[in-house]
Amino acid sequence: MGVTSTPTHETDTQDAVVSAQAEKPPRPRTRARHRRWVLLSVLVLLLGGAVAGDAYLWQVSEAWIERDGQWQVHARSLTTSLGETTTELQDTMAELEVVRGQLDQAQTRISDLADEKAQLGDEHAVVRQLAEYQERVQTAATAVVAALDSCIASQQRLIRWYRDTEEPTDEQLVVLAELGESVGAVCTAAQEAKDALAEELDG
């Protein structure tokens, strides 16, 4: 308790000594203490850095865990959706195959119907042409019949005239000759028409 004071002369003596030794290198003891201080500071800083790094990594880890959970949920959702889509795709592909088959059948049917229509068209054209030909033949035959009727009627009229006239005059004979020529022309025309028709029918 009472031994705290230090003689003044001793302090002065020490200061004198320290000042006298300031120009000299620090003593090993002081240097060691300084090194410990530096080492301690470095360790503290490293410890601080390590703690900060741990905190950062911990936060990152937590964030990744949370994100991983979200992705897993989403991946499961996508997997389910993919499965449904794959099933729908397979169903659609199956339907597509069915539709393709139906399209092939429809195309075949269209081609068949087009061919049938063309064949019927050919037959119809031939029949129509034949009908037109028969109509022309019928018209020609009617004309031949009419000409032959006219020939027969003229000849009958000429026969009646000969029968009803016992003694014809000269004028009557001239008229009779003209009538005979006319009847001959009519009958010749009728004969020619008949021959032409017969030739057409034979051809």
Partner: protein
């Protein structure tokens, strides 16, 4: 100064290094914003409408089939059939001998649709004819710019024997002068099997372009084709085709 000064510098450097390391650390990855992807993103776009416009027909028939036309030549007490193909919306090409001596021409398409005939013209220098139609033809092919070479594959689409629309293939085996003397210049010889009624059928290359017109066959089952170069020359010549006289369409 005294010895502790370098030690303080070391500590300062360490502090700065730690601060630098902290600042160099990446930020915590952000959580995804908005909805996550719900479906795979297609790597290529597909436009069904464009596909229909370019490659597909409304009814699924090939262009080669849609360009082909059946020609019925109703003569005076005779009927013959041939083939033809569109070169324009209302213009088709066939053989001269398919439309000659006709009292009535009738056209029908691959799907059985009838197309009226407005006029017909025939070429004098080749067994070719052009028929103008009243209605539009289903499809118009592209004409090749060059004749096929020997060995090239061709496809013939027509109505052999006046029957169903038929597609046959073969190869060009030679060039020769016309054995029937119907054609001025060389024609192509192919091994594509054709029959009566195939006359006027288009010969198509691999790309579906017209490279010739079938006009004859021989006993060796070889077919003869008017090359597309001749077709080009005649189509570009205004005087190459002479109209068929209307009188020839009427039977006496």
């Amino acid at each position: 100064m005294r010895r502790p000064a370098p030690a303080s510098a070391v500590v300062g450097v360490l502090v700065l290094a730690l601060c630098g390391a902290c600042s160099a650390l990446p930020e915590i990855p952000p959580m995804p914003d908005g909805p996550l992807p719900t479906a795979p993103t297609p790597t290529a776009s597909f436009d069904p409408a464009a596909a229909v416009r370019n490659d597909l027909s409304p009814d699924g028939f090939d262009v080669a089939e849609r360009i082909s036309v059946r020609v019925r030549n109703l003569g005076c007490f005779s009927l013959s059939t041939g083939s033809g193909f569109a070169v324009g919306e209302t213009t088709l090409v066939t053989n001269r001998h398919v439309v000659e001596d006709s009292a009535e021409l009738a056209l029908s398409t691959y799907d059985g649709r009838d197309v009226g005939v407005r006029a017909a013209s025939i070429a004098e220098l080749a067994d070719l004819a052009v028929v103008r139609t009243d209605g539009e033809l289903p499809a118009v092919p592209e004409l090749a710019t060059e004749d096929p070479e020997r060995g090239d594959t061709i496809t013939v689409v027509g109505y052999p024997q006046g029957g169903r629309l038929t597609v046959t293939s073969g190869r060009v085996i030679a060039r020769t002068t016309d054995p029937l003397n119907l054609h001025l210049g060389e024609v192509l010889v192919t091994d594509a099997l054709v029959e009566p009624g195939s006359s006027g059928s288009p010969a198509l290359d691999r790309r579906g372009r017209v490279v010739g017109v079938v006009y004859a066959m021989n006993e060796a089952e070889q077919s003869f084709i008017v090359p597309v170069s001749t077709l080009h020359e005649l189509l570009e010549d205004d005087d190459a085709f002479k109209p068929v006289k209307e009188e020839s369409f009427v039977c006496d």
